[in-house]
Amino acid sequence: MSANPARRQAPEVGVERAGIQTTVQDGGRFGYQHLGVVPSGAMDMESLLLANAMVANGSDEATLEMVLQGPTLRFACEALIALAGASFGIRAALGQSVTLLPTNRPILLAAGTQVSFEHAQDGARAYLAVAGGFDVPSILGSRCTYIPAGFGGHNGRALKKGDVLALSPQASTLARARFNTLHKKNTGVVCHGSAARTVRWSVRPRSLPEDEVTLVRFINGRHRALFTAQALQAFESSTYRISPDSNRMGYRMVGPRLERANTGDVLSEPTNLGTVQVPPDGAPIVLMADHQTTGGYAKIAEIASADIPRLAQLRPGQEVRFAPCSLAQALALARAARDALASKTQALAWQYQA
């Protein structure tokens, strides 16, 4: 903690351990794909929305996306936080008091509390929302980090030990006011030492894929005709494993190689989140949040948007199967996912109504 008493209550968060790859992410940067700028943003948009709803933020407010191993942060001021997505153990320390915090609910932290997010017990990614949001500059209309080009978020990169992130100047005022509303509406508040207070209720977490093979639905890619019949068959009937060299740009899949019947070049053309492209080595890549905007590899499939958040929660080594669906089915899945999420966020909004 800062030795300067005037800074102690400043609306900021110190990074005491960075975690594997902790980045500022929001709902994404739209409108610049024709300049090669991909929307980026949270890999699991559902968890982003849920984390923000738990602290009564706007739906695409900037959060911290943590992966597999979370950061240790020190909140200089009082703050209302919530974590959604993969379940990371949360440990809070203030002075002599060290406690484990319950998950999937809003948490009011006392000024000066150190919070450690341990490793993901299921899933891969979680989103830490703070009431009022992180006060990083908006670049081309978004606060999200785009690492490949080094802009957005905190200096265009993942957090490092020693970084200090600004919160909204109203962070502690909002924290107290919003938590008071929750308090009045509910029968009780739980105190966790001097470090934190939480409500008694929790949001039911989405079930995250664990050991079983995750089914991921896809629409036919537009270059299917370039592949051999065996390749098309193998793609739909085999189990693929997520390669360790997967990242926010793409998930590389380990499994049967997909051969082309026709090896001619494909002209560089637009891609999308969820495009499954096959480079000449035959190993498919699912394009994720930081993907290239255009590419010249053959597209065998396009993952249904409703299944992207689940895919984003898979860890290297976990397995998927690809199952075909129609465009109409994919759109219906997206509507159903949106409605299910809306009922959760509306229930949370009701908790915050005075």
């Binding site: 739209f30 024709h34 300049l35 670049i139 053309e269 637009p270 290239q292």
Partner: protein, 241 residues
């Protein structure tokens, strides 16, 4: 403007459930590309709230959609109707042509690492390869892959060489390279399988600039030869040194 060549839709296909791709040709045709860029402008000018991004490419165009705003409509149908309407509408004004972008390039000092090789494949001296590259009238077909990365057409046809068999893993920012009928400039350190003719000290993309991308689709581009000392001075100024 009677000279506007018409473009014809070849296919309209879903690019997943959040984008639609319209295909106009299976090969590079600068006239078709120019028509696609005009169509992209026409779609953007309608300022439709359900459209998130309009991405023109060499011979195709993608429309990215916010499906929270399109109800139960079929995305492919919506885009097909929109594209038909835009192509039928002859009243749209042409966007004012922008002045050509002049790009300083240093071809010496190891920057033009493949000039000799291109010369051997085409039967020219390295100097003649540079002269022909400088004499080409380039135009930006599309910007994509990473921020600010242009694909240019207009390369002197006598310089057409295929892509290299083994791509290089890390090409420095500013690398100017050619393959077939095209030329590219790398904004960031990326892998590249094209033959390198030189390097520009300019910063191709800067999110803080009023015009973040130096190159935009349809821009005319001319390269201008600079010496190493000048390269270093400009690189200092641009912060790319």
């Amino acid at each position: 403007m009677g000279s506007k060549p018409a473009i014809r839709v070849q296919s309209v296909v879903p690019l997943g459930d959040t984008a639609v791709l319209i295909d106009f040709s299976d090969h590079l045709d600068p006239d078709v590309n120019a028509g696609i860029l005009r169509l992209a402008d026409a779609i953007r000018r309608r300022k439709l709230p359900w459209i998130r991004d309009v991405v023109p490419a060499i011979a195709s165009l993608a429309v990215h959609i916010n499906i929270n705003l399109t109800g139960e409509s079929d995305t492919v149908d919506m885009v097909r109707v929109l594209v038909d309407a835009c192509l039928r509408d002859k009243s749209q004004p042409d966007s004012a042509p922008r002045p050509p972008i002049v790009v300083p390039v240093c071809y010496d000092g190891g920057f033009g690492m493949d000039l000799q090789d291109i010369g051997e494949r085409t039967g020219f001296s390295a100097d003649e390869v540079v002269r022909r590259h400088l004499g080409s009238d380039f135009r930006v077909l599309m910007v994509g892959f990473v921020p600010g990365h242009p694909y240019l057409c207009g390369l002197d046809p006598k310089l057409a060489v295929p892509r290299r068999s083994a791509p290089r893993l890390r090409m420095p920012p500013g690398t100017v390279a050619i393959a077939n009928a095209q030329c590219v400039v790398y904004p960031y350190e990326i892998p590249g399988g094209w033959s390198v003719v030189g390097r520009t000290p300019l910063r191709l993309f800067d999110a803080a600039r009023a015009r973040p991308s130096l190159f935009e689709a349809a821009d005319a581009v001319r390269f201008e030869r600079i010496e190493r000392a000048q390269f270093d001075r400009i690189a200092q100024r641009e912060g790319t040194a």
